[in-house]
């Protein structure tokens, strides 16, 4: 037993074991997120949602997955074969890589990086680019449009996202997510304490996370009514599935990051820490889903204007106020 624990202390083995656990868990959770979202949307629409496949439609995501892997894999004649095939995998890779630094409980994290926040934001910001690569490689005009919009959106919204995530970093004085959570356990959650910049930064962070995850009202890259299916127009079967699950994982991990940075992570009044972390993540994700099925969509230029005219100056102001606060506090 002790030997096994010693083995886990080795960073390579530790990373591999936890990585495997987290990736497996995330992929299966993603499948059930789709089920949850369909049921949730159906309730909003006074519908039933999936009911026929398994009890309460619980086997629906498995059926979807099995269907996707047996579909014919079409690569359009004029597509760039290599990039077209690689893009879904790279997208999923970047989406999953964020999970490495998300602390689910004091010991349960794949890698306790000192620059965890920076790493998470950088990797999730990269997710827009393989989408664009895939869109360009499919040699389809709708896909190209979607890809261009995706990359423009990713670049723009990365800035307010980073700026709003810097607020807890400045307050806690650390770039490590674990240390930020521990600071919150000691001094109160950033969303509520100190009153002022924290809650605004939290709202801003979730807003930009919506945009980064291509969720309505910021889903202009996919925009089914305009661009058919956006960057994934030419993708069939499981490749489309990879794109879709990457998007869900991204949203989920952004919720987790929001919970860790602003809502005290695994902090809770009683019980095991993991439970509280997962609860907060799920609640944030439900909020994201609710927004998705309620609002209409922005136009692309309005989206850019919203980012550059309101969000970026706002985030800068927040950061300034936070800096002043920290300076005064000493």
């Amino acid at each position: 037993m002790n030997e096994a624990l010693e083995l886990l202390a080795n960073p390579w083995i530790h990373g591999f074991v936890f990585g495997a656990v987290i990736v497996t868990a995330l992929m299966s959770v993603t499948a059930y997120i789709t089920w949850f979202e369909r049921k949730f949307a159906a309730r909003l629409h006074s519908r039933m949602g999936p009911t026929m496949v398994g009890p309460k439609g619980l086997l629906q995501p498995i059926a979807d997955g099995l269907k996707m892997i047996q579909k014919e894999d079409i690569v359009p004649r004029d597509a760039d074969r290599l990039l077209f095939n690689a893009a879904p995998a790279i997208t999923l890779f970047f989406a999953l890589a964020v999970a490495a630094v998300i602390p689910f409980s004091p010991g349960l994290l794949a890698s306790n990086l000192d620059i965890g926040v920076l790493y998470a934001l950088a990797v999730s910001g990269l997710m827009g680019f393989p989408v664009w690569v895939g869109a360009w490689a499919s040699n389809n005009k709708y896909a190209l449009f979607g890809g261009m919009r995706a990359v423009a959106q990713a670049i723009s919204y990365e800035i307010p996202m980073v700026l709003s995530a810097l607020v807890p970093v400045v307050l806690a004085g650390s770039l490590s997510i674990g240390q930020i959570v521990e600071y919150q356990i000691e001094h109160g959650w950033f969303a509520f304490w100190p009153p002022g910049p924290g809650i605004f930064a939290f709202v801003l962070f979730m807003l930009t996370a919506l945009a980064e995850g291509n969720r309505i009202p910021f889903d202009i890259p996919e925009a089914e009514s305009e661009l058919v299916a956006g960057p994934t127009t030419e993708y069939t079967g499981i490749k489309f599935g990879l794109f879709a699950s990457a998007e869900y994982i991204h949203s989920l991990l952004a919720s987790a990051l929001g919970a860790a940075l602003f809502l005290g992570g695994w902090d809770g009044p009683f019980g095991i820490p993991v439970f509280w972390m997962l609860l907060k993540t799920c609640m944030l994700f439900v909020g994201v889903t609710w927004i998705r099925w309620t609002l209409l969509r922005f136009r692309s230029d309005q989206l850019m204007a919203l980012c550059w005219v309101y969000l970026v100056p706002g985030a800068l102001g927040l950061l300034l106020i936070t800096g002043l606060y920290v300076h005064v506090r000493g």
């Binding site: 309505i216 889903d219 609002l295 209409l296 230029d301 309005q302």
Partner: protein, 451 residues
Amino acid sequence: MAVAETPPAAPVTPAAQATPIAPVTQVAASTGPLVPSGPPRDGPIPPIRAARTPRTDCKPTKAFVPEPHLDLSTYEADADLMTLSLGPQHPSTHGVFRVVLYLDGEQIVKAVPYPGYLHRGVEKLCEKLMASNITPIIDKNDYVAPMTNEQAVNMAFESLMGVEVPVRARYLRTVLAETQRVASHLLWLGTFGMDLGGALGGGTSLFMWCFRERELILDLFENLTGCRFHYNTHTVGGNRHDVPAGWPEMLHRTLGAIDERLDQYLGMLEHPIFSARTKGVGVIDADLALELGLTGPLLRASGVDHDLRRDAPYHAYAEVDLKVFVEDAGDCWARSKVRIEEMRESIRISRILVDNLPPGPICSTKPLKMVGQHKLPPGQVYVGIETPRGELGTWLIGGGANKGSSPYRLKIRSPSLHACAVIPYVLPGCSLSDAIAILGSLDPVMGEVDR
């Protein structure tokens, strides 16, 4: 919500400058930015029509030369123009309709529509059939509002044959037409939401709710006619189906329930994202609307106070006090507002009329027993009525070589055809997203455009 910076001066095309009447004096504050999207650019701009003060006096304009066909060889684009074929199978073209867009970045430079993908030769078919056979076929023309279609063609036959319609049938027809208008506008609202909000998002919620309400009206019609969708309830000289017991109460219940929910839809008009997507987008001014022969909600949203139900009353419209809603802006928002307000008015009229249904026969002609009972006299008539989409006219020619009960020539003047003809005038200057919003707000039904 945040929109692009408004350019200081309105780009005025030579065509607009040449218009002597209705000069470009001021821009209505409510219409928002003149350039619907995108920053102002240097060099030649695509023709964007300036918003003008809406007119209600309807004086003719002289030398109005629209420029829908931009010569692309003289256009200096920032980069290569992209040609995008939107349709005929696209989630948002409302049927099989194709628009070829020439895009400079995301801005549309030129739009060329291609209808005809649903041309079913109805007019040719009608030359072979007699009046009672034509009704169920005309049902399928405007498949969103079959009731008013039937009425349009049957009224033309009645006019040509000189058949009187009993008072009860006239009242019932009015009730049906107005109820159908509610159903049609609900379907429009749902699909418009889909256009703005996507198939996986809030638009779908709107779509589902609108269909939930529309199903109630279809139940109502099913109780009356036995059919859910294509009713075949009108005939020459009246209606086939009299009101069953309990039907007026059912109508009150249904329309009352919908009326309560209309407040929510009206509230949606003030939503920041909805207004940002629709205000100042796709402005059709009164001149252009009249020139293009737009009718119905599209014309009223452009500030022209014109409604056939009030101005040339048919059915029982002369007996009710109809309120006509007019909006001045002429953009997608105004069109939405006019349609939603019309729903409420239609509900009010239906509920009043169904309570005052006069007794008497429902049809003045005997039930059809033999082929050729309805003899068509030679002659030509034109009858236009106000359907949910505008003036649906029927030009009927009797006699000729078909000396019998089938028309020699039957031409349907469809409001959707004119609505689609707006596209090359309105789309240039908008972005791709705006194009979808504009297409949705025009509410074309392809069965009616192509026939």
